[in-house]
């Protein structure tokens, strides 16, 4: 059989089809143009973003909601540099992403050619791995490798940079062979000795806490986690990236700990005698000052990434492995063990009663985000995919929204990328056209990537957006209020412009507005009725509102600021 000669560009598109990629997000340009030619004829759906950062976040939203590879395509130079933020974001939140960038022709590389940037160098610290293709024949194998690296072990972004002449070079389509990655062999199965040691610690513990995060979601181990927690009666805290890994509302669920975590979740860790940490990285937003973190607790730390174990906190039992295998191992090793955690759970339950999350929505006063969120959730029957920006609203959503399923909460946890919400929501809605996808965003965040509303309209991706408009960079303002003597330097955005309703309309979406309590329900009902267009609600909220509880950065989790009154004691 004679081999078929294809161009490098055709190999890329054929390779993506071979890897079962159905959707890509991107922006074309000079160096990547050859790839857009065969893409036009491919069954792969291409979503034309308005900015490469948006395209990258769309691919992240697609990946975070499905747990599968997200793909983004951009051109050389500015196309590639605009991708750096989503790549860094995906690296921090372990999102499987494949970025394909065009590069200037091989002979022009290093000559400061038009739209040339050293993409491999620039993205080196923002990717799990990256490639520069030097011959078209490498393309199928590199694509297979890239997908494997992006989706296996601790997932992350991989970039493939392809010079324009290589995209035009003819080569054979050769089906990719077995992978040869001698330096990359993720450990999935935990060491049974470590599992046994962990089980022994659990058996002897009186106040255990399952401290779980994004690793559970990546591993699709939520059912196993549920079994472990409920069989042995172990309370669970879910980190910002782990929200939805264990259902909110369950008696054992304490929800989010940390800087803006609820009192019970944060305090449970402080009072615990054993942290069973799975798929978490002891982030500073969880631990505050690590020297004061969980001082009475022994630590079992399981993670697929060995570099996370012992990085922040020494673990008495380190376990390298995939969360699902670790949990199944623990369930097995614990056997018929009965843990006596009843007193512990009672203690936590009374804490929950004594220190609930609260907000104060006056009948005629300005809208409070938590109230608006609760109203919205009450009106949504189905499990929505909620996509947030970064800041106050993000914390309020994590606190007040009830997450019961994994992959229904998408946010930028590690990098804290403002502008993530709308494009990521577009990505998620592309993956799940039938699901309700809510971009719940702040006004500061929204203004960073709002042009993607045009993408949503023109590509017929009817996401629903709520812009919590407090006219400020709310979290910045909150810190200025607390730590900078209310000197509001450069945090005010103003309420006057833009007019979000008109902005939405000009971008082909429906624009609505709510400013007071009596309007909330009806405006949401109107939004929920519209399914053929994107809808944006300008939700005007109280700029003075602050997120509590709060533990200041570098402080101790034993000293939780519960409300504005507590600030006086700072």
């Amino acid at each position: 059989m004679s081999k078929e000669q294809l161009t490098g560009a055709e190999l890329v598109i054929r390779g993506l089809e071979y890897l079962n990629v159905s959707t890509v997000f991107g922006v074309p340009g000079g160096a990547i143009l050859p790839a857009y030619d065969p893409l036009y004829d491919s069954p792969i759906r291409h979503i034309l973003a308005r900015h490469e950062q948006g395209a990258g976040h769309m691919a992240e939203g697609y990946a975070q909601s499905t747990g599968e590879l997200g793909v983004v395509i951009a051109t050389s130079g500015p196309g590639a540099t605009n991708l750096i933020t989503p790549l860094a974001n995906a690296l921090m939140d372990s999102t499987p992403l494949l970025a394909i960038t065009g590069q200037v022709a091989s002979e022009a590389i290093g000559n400061d050619a038009f739209q040339e940037a050293y993409t491999v160098g620039l993205s080196m610290a923002a990717t799990k791995h990256n490639y520069l293709i030097t011959n078209a024949s490498e393309i199928p194998q590199v694509l297979k490798e890239a997908k494997y690296i992006a989706t296996s072990g601790r997932p992350g972004p991989v970039l493939i940079d392809i010079p324009k002449d290589i995209l035009n070079q003819k080569s054979d389509w050769v089906e990719p062979g077995p992978l040869d990655l001698p330096g990359y062999k993720p450990t999935l199965e935990p060491n049974p000795k470590m599992i046994q040691q962990a089980a022994n610690l659990i058996k002897n513990s009186n106040k255990p806490i399952l401290y779980v995060g994004g690793g559970i979601i990546h591993s699709k181990a939520n059912q196993e986690l549920f079994d472990l927690a409920t069989k042995f009666n172990i309370p669970v805290v879910t980190t910002l990236m782990g929200r939805g890994a264990f259902p909110d509302g369950h008696e054992l669920c304490l929800e989010m700990p940390g800087m803006h975590g609820n009192y019970t979740a944060t305090t449970s860790i402080q009072k615990s005698d054993l942290l069973i940490a799975i798929g978490v990285r002891f982030d500073d937003r969880v631990t505050a000052n690590p020297s004061f973190f969980a001082q009475n607790a022994k630590v079992i730390h399981a993670d697929i990434d060995p570099a996370e174990i012992g990085k922040v906190r020494e673990a008495q039992v380190p376990i390298v492995g995939d969360a699902k295998s670790v949990i199944l191992g623990l369930i097995d090793a614990l056997g018929d063990t009965k843990l006596n955690t009843e007193n512990w759970i009672n203690e936590l339950n009374s804490m929950k009663t004594e220190f609930p999350l609260s907000y104060n929505q006056n009948e005629n006063g300005p809208l409070k985000v938590p109230f608006v969120l609760e109203e919205l959730q009450n009106l949504t029957e189905e499990e929505a995919i909620v996509v947030s920006g970064v800041g106050q609203h993000q914390m309020w959503i994590s606190q007040h929204w009830n997450f019961t399923e994994p992959n229904t909460w998408l946010n930028s946890g590690g990098l804290g990328t403002m502008g993530y919400s709308l494009p990521a929501a577009i990505g998620a809605k592309t993956a799940y056209p039938e699901k309700l996808v809510l971009a719940l965003d702040g006004d500061g965040c929204f203004q960073m990537t709002c042009q993607e509303l045009i993408t949503a309209s023109t590509e017929n991706i009817p996401v629903k957006i709520v812009v919590f408009n407090n006219g400020n960079h709310g979290m910045v303002r909150q810190w200025q209020k607390i730590f900078y003597n209310s000197k509001f330097s450069a945090s005010e955005l103003g309420h006057v412009v833009p007019d979000y309703v008109k902005l939405a309309e000009s971008m082909g979406a429906v624009g609505l507005r709510m400013t007071k309590k009596s309007e909330v329900k009806n405006v949401f009902l109107e939004m929920l009725k519209i399914n053929d267009k994107p809808v944006l609600i300008d939700c005007v909220v109280d700029p003075e509102d602050m997120v509590f509880p709060m533990v200041p950065a570098g402080g101790s989790n034993d000293q939780i600021i519960l409300n504005e009154e507590d600030l006086k004691n700072l």
Binding site: M124, K128, H129, N130, L132, I149, G183, P306, A307
Partner: protein, 157 residues
């Protein structure tokens, strides 16, 4: 902080050196010495990195995460043979010529090129020996000096 020697087995691919170096420099630490060369295995190179890191365990783990890094061994100074090569060009004249060559020869250096007004010596040995040789030649006027980076191997299996 004491010196740590990392022996890093890597795939011989473009960009590996940059990845390894940037993983270390991310923390603002200097690399005291670095050498890279092929090994007896096709497609594999060995890097010997000498650095003063206070977080060497973490850096080792992070280096291990690099896809092209195959294995990292931190060498135990008590069980390590270490050597380094040096090329040194020194100025000579009629008066100093004999003394320079004699001193070099006593230090174990080979003279690889001697001209009218300069001589080039090659010396292989421990870093200390090379430092000593440099000090010895300084008074005569060193024109140029190149050191090859330290390489090391463990004495046990």
């Amino acid at each position: 902080m004491s010196e740590r020697i990392l022996s890093v087995l890597v795939e011989d691919k473009p960009g590996v050196l940059a990845r390894v170096a940037s993983t270390i420099s991310r923390r603002g630490f200097n690399i005291n010495s670095l050498s890279v060369g092929p090994t007896h295995i096709e497609g594999r190179s060995k890097m010997t990195i000498v650095t003063e890191l206070d977080a060497v365990e973490q850096v080792k783990k992070q280096l291990n995460k690099l896809v092209n890094v195959i294995k990292i061994v931190e060498l135990d100074p008590d069980m390590t043979i270490e050597t380094e090569v040096l090329l040194l060009k020194v100025s000579i004249n009629k008066d100093s010529q004999t003394s320079v060559i004699e001193k070099a020869s006593l230090s174990g250096a080979n003279s690889v090129d001697v001209g009218q007004d300069y001589a080039v010596f090659e010396l292989t040995g421990s870093s200390k020996e090379l430092n000593k040789f440099e000090d010895l030649m300084k008074p005569f006027g060193i024109i140029e000096m190149v050191r090859g980076g330290r390489i090391a191997i463990q004495t046990n299996l």
